[in-house]
């Protein structure tokens, strides 16, 4: 009954979204306030309807309704409650429901806030948001319906991939989608600005809060994803340049460029065209990411060709949205206000130069990710583009960004003074040199990239501290920049540490002791443990270095329903490093029972995610500012 209601609600949302894409447009062009108000009501109704569908699906997951195919395929009665809830969005169909839920949530938000938004702008933005809704609701109902029933219902489900049975599933996908899909609001407002004649250059201020909100969530979502991969996948890397990761990084990079140009536009009336173009591009990259992840094209171009239904659908949506917006841009850009010009050495100049590098990095990422697919599809041969390519291209492109982002906040708007700004860089220079010296002392003089990164991180952190001190009377007013930059500096220091990772793999049996990378490891005990829906062998290890004495409990788990083993690593983070211990399956070695053990030392690693979260807080601080200004 409830699932039928959910299905009906989502179907009705498709119809109402169609109305939402048309009625407010007429309202705006006829200056008919009634039609505009209808558009606002429709946006709110669509959110309620999609939420009904989403929670109906969640209800089916929580109550083990295996007559729903989606539940039968991705759940099991013994699965812990948390993973029944988060399992709602763990499958393709469920994650698309989350996608559309967030899309309509942003539609509802545009309908309500900020209160002072010009009516025509709001109306047109609601219409564009409605059009995206039509596309993706149709995608769900026609290709990825989560409400399909099966009769007779199976007695139990096939369970969720144990890799996904982790608290990370509660944070990473919703955070990522709030960012990814949140940019739809920026896209809709940018399109609305392009449709509206005689706009003021400073109207870009209506984009600002949406960019900050989406970007904050995207930063948070990517950070959580990286942390999850680090501890759950069990091999201790935090970024692999995997196409799925790249798919999330693309809109993050262009969103970062947008974040900065929107500030220049809102404050100074500069760079309006560039801001609008970036708004279109950023959401297009979100759609591209959705296409890459949801079409199956990454597994192989050939499997994509065999079952192209979903992929072609998203590709068509991508083409229509991007193409339509770019045509609108081309038609209207020359009529937009010129905006103020500025000196090359100025705050705007710094923002723009950094935008140039960040956008080039973004274009490189898109190229590198799509190149093998396109080349193969066009019969040009098969090549692989992996981490070495991205390290060789992205690192040189992003290092100047770190240098400039430390410096540029000390330049004045319109026209800055280099000498004046340099006088503020003493602490930055000091921390840069200290970081390099500390790195040399701790890790020796190999791996030059490690020192460069440590120095760059120290530079940014030092500059942020100076910046905060200089603005100590107005911390809240400057919080987005201060937190954002500080977080990036901290994260870069953490990333630099990974150059000096020490990875060891060996076998041990209970009672063994071993000296590895300066640590004395003892395998004290092994116990069988019964988890909620898994069996595990839990090892007790003592790891000693000097006065530092820790006990770690890595597990080797087995999930009987899916007959899948999983290594659950033990971590011990502190300020300087993360100790990482993974236990392998029991091996019969003659009469002995041995275990493969992986012991890794990740210098500075915890700072990667701490920095990422601080950076995200910078975005949220900007949203809080808008609240305080009674925009909302």
């Amino acid at each position: 009954m409830i699932i039928t209601l959910g299905h009906f609600a989502v179907s009705l949302a498709l119809l109402l979204s169609l109305a939402q894409s048309i009625i407010p447009l007429f309202g705006a062009s006829q200056n008919n306030i009634k039609k505009i108000q209808i558009g606002r009501g429709l946006a709110l109704a669509n959110f309620v309807l999609v939420a009904t569908g989403f929670f109906a699906l969640m209800y089916a997951h929580v109550t083990d309704d295996f007559s729903v195919v989606n539940v039968a395929m991705n759940s099991h009665s013994t699965k812990p409650l948390l993973y029944k809830i988060t399992g709602t969005w763990a499958s393709h169909e469920g994650s698309m429901m989350l996608w559309v839920l967030i899309l309509t949530l942003f539609g509802a938000l545009i309908a309500l806030v900020p209160r002072d938004m010009p009516l025509v702008l709001r109306a047109r933005a609601l219409a564009v948001q409605g059009m995206t809704g039509v596309g993706f609701l149709a995608f769900i109902l026609f290709t990825s319906d989560p409400f399909i029933r099966i009769f007779p219902a199976p007695t139990d489900g096939q369970d969720l991939n144990p890799l996904l049975q982790d608290p990370g599933l509660a944070f990473h996908p919703p955070g990522l989608y709030m960012g990814y899909v949140g940019f739809s609001s920026v896209f809709s407002l940018a399109a609305a600005l392009l449709m509206t004649r005689d706009i003021d250059a400073k109207w870009a201020k209506y984009l600002r809060v949406w960019v900050l909100l989406s970007w904050g969530f995207l930063t948070f979502g990517i950070t959580m994803g990286s942390w999850w991969a680090y501890y759950e996948l069990g091999w201790g890397g935090w970024w692999f340049w995997d196409p799925v990761e790249n798919a999330a990084l693309m809109p993050w990079l262009s969103g970062t460029a947008l974040l900065h140009s929107v500030i220049a536009s809102a404050r100074r009336g500069a760079l309006l065209r560039w801001t609008l173009l970036l708004s279109v591009i950023t959401f297009s990259l979100s759609l591209l990411g959705t296409f890459l992840v949801r079409s199956g094209i990454l597994t192989s171009v050939h499997t994509f060709a065999v079952d192209p239904e979903r992929g072609v659908f998203v590709l068509a949506l991508l083409g229509i949205a991007t193409g339509g917006a770019l045509i609108l841009y081309a038609a209207r850009a020359h009529q937009l206000p010129e905006g103020t010009l500025f000196a090359p050495i100025s705050r705007e100049g710094g923002l723009l130069i950094n935008n140039l590098f960040i956008c080039t990095a973004c274009a490189t990422l898109v190229t590198g990710t799509l190149y093998p697919l396109l080349l193969d599809a066009l019969g040009g041969g098969t090549v692989s583009v992996g981490a070495p390519y991205f390290n060789a291209t992205m690192v040189p492109l992003l290092l100047p960004v770190l240098f400039i982002m430390g410096f540029a906040p000390f330049l004045k708007w319109n026209k800055g003074d280099v000498r004046n700004a340099l006088a503020n860089m003493k602490l930055a220079a000091l921390l840069m040199l200290t970081a390099i010296a500390a790195g040399l002392y701790a890790y020796g003089n190999h791996h030059i990239i490690g020192f460069i990164a440590l120095g760059a991180g120290g530079w940014v952190v030092g500059a942020s501290i100076t910046d905060a001190w200089r603005n100590r009377d107005a911390l809240f007013a400057n919080a987005p920049r201060l937190l954002g930059h500080l977080g990036i500096g901290i994260a870069v220091i953490g990333m630099a540490g990974s150059v000096y990772n020490q990875e060891n793999a060996f076998t041990m049996q209970v009672g063994d002791a071993r000296d590895v990378s300066g640590y004395h490891i003892t395998f004290d005990a092994l116990a069988d443990v019964q988890g909620e829906n898994y069996l595990a062998q839990r090892g007790t290890f003592t790891v000693i270095r000097g006065d530092d004495n820790v006990t770690l409990y890595p597990e080797w788990r087995f999930y009987p329903v899916q007959a899948m083993p999983l290594s659950h690593v033990a971590l011990r983070p502190d300020a300087m490093r993360d100790l990482y211990l993974a236990l392998g399956e029991e091996q019969e070695d003659g009469k002995k029972k041995t275990h493969a053990v992986r012991f890794q030392i990740h210098p500075l690693a915890p700072w990667i995610w701490i920095g990422g979260v601080i950076t995200a807080l910078g975005g949220f601080a900007g949203v809080a500012q808008s609240f305080k200004k009674k925009w909302i």
Partner: protein, 124 residues
């Protein structure tokens, strides 16, 4: 699905320890080379990151060749003749990758020229 397959293989190979070469400089070379070689049965992992049998064989092969005195370039060329360009995670510069390597520079140049007019002329 692939991740699941890989996990089944995870730790099913007890001989991790024997993979490491005794000479730390040679081992460092092997690790660097491993980053550049793709595990050809995996989705997008280097032979260092992958837990597949195939990747382990490749890791052992790289170490064997290093201890036989092969240079890095010889090993990469050998892998390439055996498995094709596909195995190199950093594609070589050749006719079908000019665009891949050239585009970042091209983009930087063109975009740089395009933003120039936004700067106010000095005299104004």
């Amino acid at each position: 699905m692939i991740a699941r397959l890989l996990l089944l293989l995870l730790f099913s190979l007890p001989a991790w320890a024997q993979e490491t070469l005794p000479d730390p400089q040679q081992e460092a070379r092997a690790v660097t080379l491993g980053e550049e070689l793709r595990c050809v049965v995996c989705q997008s992992e280097s032979i260092n990151d992958s837990q597949a049998d195939m990747a382990r064989d490749m890791r052992l092969l790289v170490r064997e060749k290093i201890s036989q005195g092969w240079t890095d370039q010889q090993i990469l060329t050998f892998a390439r003749t055996r498995y094709g360009d596909f195995i190199l995670l950093k594609p070589p510069l050749q006719s079908n990758t000019y665009l891949l390597w050239g585009l970042p520079l091209l983009f930087l140049g063109v975009a740089g020229v395009m933003i120039w007019p936004l700067f106010r002329k000095r005299k104004e």
